[in-house]
């Protein structure tokens, strides 16, 4: 989440491969635009427009496109809420949406590809427990398969049992790719356990889990206090009742 923290790069994927997995344009095709470059447009004078430097994609007038990840509950390196906070603190000009099992990031196409590269090549991404999914995202809460892969109804990525590599055979939304895109081998499960951002423990009763109880109680207390406005509205209420003299 700390934007100054440099994420470890653990694999490298061709730019063209990333473009084809995203599936928004064909590799080599030029970017489609929705408005002329900002330099050529006439605007009425606006302080804010002078203050804020537009991102490269906006300058060119490119389309807004997305990349969406589904993160398995079984120790995926990142999780929707952390992703949202990370995106906000690291990247400019993004719109991100958090759902229970998936996280979408929307930005101008030109910048999207740079961001995608960063997200896919660093330890933010695990080929087995993180899925690149535009549609039919279901699977984050299901058990893993025998090779440790997260469930995917469209099977966008496959595990090669001989080489131990995971490769994408379909793009984000399930259209078959001409050539499979290799995204490296799954991270070690022990290592994932250490770096994961999710809090979970299996087969432990709620009442036996001290840490969980503490968190729930803290939230409960804070919500109750906040809801009733204890301490906050007291003086206000007193004033209304004429009790403040």
């Amino acid at each position: 989440m700390d934007p100054d923290f440099e994420m470890k790069k653990i694999r490298s994927i061709n730019d063209e491969d990333i473009v084809s997995v995203l599936g928004h344009r064909n590799p080599g095709e030029s970017y489609k635009s929705v408005h002329p470059p900002l330099d050529e447009m006439d605007f009425e004078e606006d302080m804010m427009k002078e203050l804020v430097e537009p991102i490269p994609g906006a300058k060119e007038g490119g389309r807004t496109r997305y990349i969406q990840f589904a993160d398995s509950m079984y120790n995926a390196p990142a999780h929707p809420y952390d992703r949202a906070r990370t995106y906000m603190s690291r990247f400019r000009g993004v719109d991100t949406g958090t759902l229970s099992g998936r996280q979408v990031i929307e930005i101008r196409e030109l910048d999207l590809e740079k961001i995608s590269k960063e997200l896919l090549e660093t330890e933010f991404f695990d080929p087995a427990k993180t899925g690149l999914r535009g549609a039919t995202v279901h699977g984050h809460s299901l058990r893993l398969d025998e090779n440790g892969l997260m469930f995917d109804a469209l099977q966008r990525y496959v595990y090669n049992e001989e080489t131990g590599m995971v490769s994408y055979v379909k793009d984000q939304v399930g259209r078959p790719l001409d050539t499979p895109v290799e995204v490296g081998e799954p991270l070690d499960e022990e290592h994932l356990k250490e770096i994961t951002t999710i809090y979970r423990s299996d087969n432990v009763g709620m009442r036996e889990d001290k840490e969980a109880i503490e968190a729930v109680l803290t939230i409960h207390k804070a919500r109750t206090d906040g809801g009733f406005g204890l301490g906050v509205f007291k003086n206000d209420l007193k004033a209304k009742l004429g009790d403040d003299k």
């Binding site: 599936g23 025998e146 939304v173």
Partner: protein, 162 residues
């Protein structure tokens, strides 16, 4: 028909099973005594992409395969999550013991085996509808609890053995 005493055993592996493993497991379990029926449960796998820009494209999921159980071909429609076996009550102890041994040998990850009632025991309105309105002409009462009310049992139920 004379009523029999039957009970369910639920096999819950800690990972989703591949078709090969499922095939091996089912074949070995079928050899045990007292087995009446199997219910193979899991997340259903679509044949074609249902929505999104790729709608209509074939999925070709590697887990949606045809497996051979005791010489009969069975198409797996799901990614196998758990297997519920209905057995004769008198064979229960022996069955559970042997099942655990088989599972330990076949699987290299954890599993749970629980005994209880995991399938429906009474006929529902939809089951009756199937018969009364001729939706399925010869609905076998033995299939209660095996078939999803909305599906055609011919597609999802396979008869193996005698």
């Amino acid at each position: 028909m004379e009523p029999i005493k039957a009970i369910d055993v639920r096999i819950f592996p800690h990972r989703r099973l591949k078709p090969g493993t499922t095939e091996k497991l089912l074949n070995e379990l079928l050899d045990l005594e007292g087995v009446l029926k199997f219910l193979v449960n899991g997340e259903s796998l679509p044949k074609v992409v249902g929505y999104g820009p790729a709608r209509g494209t074939r999925v070709n999921h590697p887990d949606r395969k045809i497996i051979t159980v005791k010489g009969k071909e069975v198409e797996l429609l799901v990614s196998v999550g758990d297997i519920i076996v209905t057995i004769r009550h008198e064979n229960l102890e022996e069955f559970v013991e042997k099942t655990k041994a088989i599972l330990e040998e076949t699987l290299n990850f954890g599993f749970d085996v629980r005994v209880g009632i995991f399938t429906r025991t009474k006929t529902t309105v939809s089951d009756k509808l199937k018969v009364a309105y001729g939706i399925e002409e010869d609905f076998d009462p033995n299939l209660i609890g095996l078939v999803d009310p909305k599906t055609n049992s011919k597609e999802t139920v396979k008869l193996i053995g005698d």
